[in-house]
Amino acid sequence: MGSLWIRLPVALRYTLLVIAVLLVWQGYVSISHVQKLLVASPIDVAHSLVADFQSGQLTKATWNTLQTLLEGMAIGAICGFVLASFAVFSRIGHDLLTVLSSIFNPLPSIAILPLAMIWFGLRPESIVFVVALATIWPVAINTDTGFRTISNTTQLAARNLGLRGWRLVIGVLLPAALPSISTGLKASWAFGWRTVVAAELIFGVAGSAGGLGWYINNARYYLQTSNIFAGLVVISVLGILVESIFGLVERHTVVKWGMKRAA
């Protein structure tokens, strides 16, 4: 049995397990007659998914969440990158990064949301702000580490070609630090994704511009349990999708170049 399982292609193994989980879930709901208000069956969830994607409600919520996340991540990543570059080239920059990341990194950025709501009001800017705060530190810390751990010989070889200043940074230091930078971006995506959903749940009421968190909260309000599940499914699937995009990009860059082991 064990050896047969190993011989199956990995995609098939995972698919079979997902089907098994769905069957157990469906079986439990059908047999136990648990209240539909408490647990929706996979079939009900599928119906809700189809209906709400068709009506455009889920599409819009998904799009809103992704847009907020990307805005926040872009701001956070750029700030993190600038901070790390500053840290590499000056002592005060290094100290600043150490102090700021020590203060803010342990702080779940979702805890800043109430403050952000006071500053920005009940607008998407508040969520963008907390997402940016969640993503800046992983990018800054990892980029800094990346720059610092570039092999000395690689740097000497670059300077030997006469490279200096920003041409040295763009031409050699940046690609040499890419494995760490990509680790930082992955971590910042993971933080950002959790933060955006959590913020939207709390935010709840942001009207038509609501994202997936708002969609789930809304479904709870109307006791549409299967829609709650549908929202969760979309969040999970999107997470898997983005993870695999990261994996794909890495496989065609840093892994191909032998700078990072395949995950």
Binding site: T153, A157, R164, G258
Partner: protein
């Protein structure tokens, strides 16, 4: 073969210091004087940690001498540049994110401002010269150590430097690969006439490749003697054996004896 014009490198009383984080100063090279003539292969040999790399880095422009005068082509050694192309011992001198050919093309484009067509042509020529054309489209991590060094030599030669600075380029290779690359480097030197400053701690390599061998003592490095090894190319010859004995004797001197080099030599 050696021209009588100004030496390519001229060191007079050069000392090089390192200053550590605590501000303490250690002298790695002390009072070194030597010339490198155009077209020759000048070898620096000395025990590990004696300061050979330090001296080479100063010629390359990565370090500034604390005292003395270090002239390159008659001028004080400038910032690092492609006129003094360096081949390092470490394999990570190649850019991991570029193929072998791209490493050479990129170097030509940034250091020589060549358009990509001309750079590609030159790169192919150089890869053929060091016999690595078949691996042109591989990434550095897919190469053996010997192939990486070939690629690094191709990249350095492509720049048409006025000198090639090589820091134990074959030090991390197995004996067979090392021998083969030594033979090929000699051939390349004969064909291109490029001036080579080679750091090694192998006596055999020094005599075989070098026109002159500068023996250094450790630490801080001082020049013990510069030995002419020009006509020793046949490893089997008695001349080669004599030179081997002579260099070995110079290298095994203990620190105490260094204070009285004249008496020790008697």
């Amino acid at each position: 073969m050696i021209s009588s014009t100004t030496p390519l490198v001229s060191a007079t009383g050069v000392s090089i210091d390192y200053i550590d984080a605590g501000g303490r100063r250690t002298t790695a090279v002390e009072d070194a004087s030597f010339n490198v003539q155009c077209g020759e292969t000048f070898v620096m040999i000395g025990p590990s940690g004696c300061g050979k790399t330090t001296l080479l880095k100063a010629i390359a422009g990565f370090l500034r001498p604390a005292r003395g005068m270090l002239l390159v082509e008659g001028q004080p050694a400038r910032e690092p540049g492609p006129d003094r192309a360096v081949v390092f011992q470490d394999f990570d001198q190649l850019f991991a994110w570029r193929t072998v050919r791209d490493n050479v093309v990129y170097a030509l484009r940034v250091a020589r401002k060549m358009p990509s067509g001309a750079a590609g042509k030159k790169a192919d020529e150089m890869l053929a010269l060091v016999d690595i054309a078949r691996a042109a489209h591989r990434y550095p991590h897919e190469l053996s150590g010997g192939m990486k060094q070939r690629a690094a030599i191709a990249r350095a030669l492509a720049l048409e430097p006025s000198m090639l600075l090589m820091d134990e380029p074959f030090g991390a290779l197995d004996a067979i690969t090392r021998n083969q690359l030594q033979i090929e480097l000699k051939g390349i030197h004969e064909r291109t006439g490029v001036t080579i400053v080679l750091v090694t701690h192998s006596i055999q390599e020094a005599i075989y490749l070098g026109d002159r061998v500068m023996v250094m003592s450790s630490f801080p490095a001082r020049v013990r003697e510069i030995v002419d090894t020009r006509d020793a190319t046949d490893i089997e010859s008695t001349h080669f054996a004599e030179l081997t004995g002579r260099l070995r004797a110079l290298l095994v001197h203990r620190e105490e004896q260094l204070d009285q080099p004249d008496r020790a030599a008697l």
